[in-house]
Every structure is written in C-alpha cells, then in structure tokens.
C-alpha cells in the first residue's frame, strides 16, 4: 500500500508532466502562428513611387519619340503638336499635356495614388506647389539636378508618402515655349534646366 507521502509525490510528478506538455504545446502553437507560412509583405513606398515614375517616364519618352518626332513637323508632318492642339484639325497634345491628361485619368480611376506636374514657375498658377512638402521637394530637385526628393506629410488627417521627380527641359520647344509664353513668370530657361517636377503621392 502506498504511503500518503509517496501518493503526493506521484501526483506532483503527474502535474509537472502535464504542465510540461501544455507548455511545449503552447510554445509550438505560438511559434507556428507567428513565424510559419508565407506572409505577404508590402512594397517600400520609394520602390513603389520609383516604379510608377519609371512607367510615366517611359510613356512620355515613347510619345515624344514615336508620335511627336515621327509624325510631327520634323517627321511626316502629319500632326501639329501645339499647346492649342484642340483648335487644329491635326493638332496633337504636347508631351507635357499628354502627361497631365494621364494624371487626370488616374485621378478618376483610383485613389491609391495621385500624380501631377508642378513647377515653382508655372504658366498656369494651378500647377504651383500647394503643400509645404511640394514646395520643399520642387526646391530640392532644382538645387540638386539629377536627384529625387522623398518625404512624408499629413494632409486632411491622412499620412502620405510624397516623392518629387525632376522635369527637365529636354528640347528647344520646351524652353522656347515657356520663355515666350505670355503667362510665364520665368523667361530664361535653358536646355537641361529643371523646369518643375512630377509629384507622386501615395497614402500610407
């Protein structure tokens, strides 16, 4: 017959074993739920905006090369790229105007990002920077040719990642039109100057 003491010792051992099993099982479940399986990871905001800008750049370049150059006055002469293209039967939007049209279409299609072409010296005042970060970004890219600007800002209670990419005077028509335009605040642009910037904004 077992003594009371040995019975107590036996039950203590059982309890300890039970506790050990429960602990190991709980730890295993915890580790599996935390680290197990493939988990979707988000894209870094800068990677996201750089990718968007790469597409915008490519489309704008291709429009310039394949449509404006090929079919315009220096090519087939079939179209007339002009600011007032709507007034002409064979008028075609300038690359910057095509770019803006894309931005407007994107605004209508989704709310996951916005983009706009802005300038510290806009011909149309609605294209001037509106937020302090836009102004900071446009100033930075003007002062640091070849560099981009990245930052975060809060607008209307929403946090945004804001990237500003340089818009460069790449052709004589860019410079001539802006310098000679009746509404331009700046008349001494030169080829290679940063005339403004593409502002891409992504809600965080």
């Amino acid at each position: 017959m077992k003594s009371v003491a040995s019975k107590k010792l036996a039950s203590k051992k059982v309890v300890k074993k039970a506790l050990a099993v429960v602990s190991i099982t709980s730890a295993t479940l915890l580790i599996a739920s935390c680290g197990g399986g493939d988990k979707a990871v988000g894209i870094e905001p800068q990677v996201h905006t750089d990718a968007l800008f790469a597409v915008m750049k490519a489309d704008r370049t291709n429009y310039t090369k394949l449509i404006i150059q090929r079919l315009g006055p220096k090519g087939a002469g079939a179209i007339t790229p002009k600011e007032e293209w709507k007034d002409l039967e064979n008028g075609a939007p300038l690359p910057a105007q095509m770019f803006r049209a894309g931005a407007e279409a994107v605004r209508d299609l989704n709310d996951t990002f916005t983009y706009s072409l802005q300038s510290l010296w806009p011909i149309n005042k609605q294209n001037a920077p509106k937020s302090p970060m836009e102004k900071e970004g446009l100033t930075f890219i003007k002062d640091n040719p070849g560099e981009n600007f990245y930052g975060t800002e809060e607008l209307g209670g929403v946090n945004y990642y804001t990237a500003v990419y340089p818009d460069v005077a790449v052709a004589a028509p860019c410079v001539d039109c802006h310098n000679e335009h009746k509404d331009t605040p700046k008349t001494d642009f030169k080829l290679g100057d940063v005339m403004g910037g593409v502002v891409i904004r992504v809600p965080l």
Binding site: K57, R60, T61, T64, K65, Q69, P145, G146, E147, N148, Y165, P166, V168, A169, V170, A171, A172, K190, L191, G192, V194
Partner: protein, 108 residues
C-alpha cells in the same frame, strides 16, 4: 623593436601605398565634374530615354559602338538628346571625359 630608420622606411612605404590607392585617373575626375554639372540631370535616371548611369543594359550596346561615335552623338545631338545636352559651352574634350566617366561605371 624597429629602429628609427626602419620606422621611417615603413611610414614612407605606407604613404606611397595610400597615395597610389587614392589617386584617380585625372581624366575621370574631370569627367565626373562635367557629368555632375551637365549630364547627371538626365542620365542619373533616364529622363527622355537617356541611358542611365551605370545601367549595363542601356550602355552595353552604346559602349560597343566605340568612344568616338558616342562623343559625336553627344556633341551633335542624337535621338532625343540635344547637342551637348544643351550645354553649348562644353568642348569635345570635356564631352569625351564625361562619357569616359559614364563608361567607367560599367563592369569590365
């Protein structure tokens, strides 16, 4: 224990080594300066289709055409690139140095 003469020789050797490692090809240094001031605005990220600095895919076929061809293209304009990137004051030597600098960013 190293003698004073030995220490002097050692220090001299170290100085020669450091200066050899840190000396840049003067052409590349000039090229970098020209690139930063005149070319980087477009070539750092491919504005208007410009071949991107350090991008093997963009520069590989161009490098194969030879330096003289690239200098001629950059000097007179090519495709969507305006002559001398709009910097009319650049000399052919400066353009050559800038292109050599851009080519130096590619892997051999």
């Amino acid at each position: 224990m190293i003698s004073n003469k030995g220490k002097l020789i050692l220090v001299s050797l170290l100085l020669i080594l450091v200066s050899a490692c840190s000396s840049k090809d003067p052409d590349l240094a000039i090229g970098e300066k020209i690139y930063t001031g005149a070319c980087k605005v477009c070539h750092s990220q491919g504005i208007n289709g410009a071949p991107v600095f350090g991008n093997e895919k963009n520069w590989g076929p161009r490098k194969a055409q030879g330096l003289d061809v690239l200098v001629e293209h950059a000097s007179n304009g090519f495709g969507l690139m305006p002559a001398k990137g709009g910097k009319a004051e650049l000399t052919e030597d400066q353009i050559r140095a800038a292109i050599k600098y851009m080519l130096s960013a590619l892997e051999e």
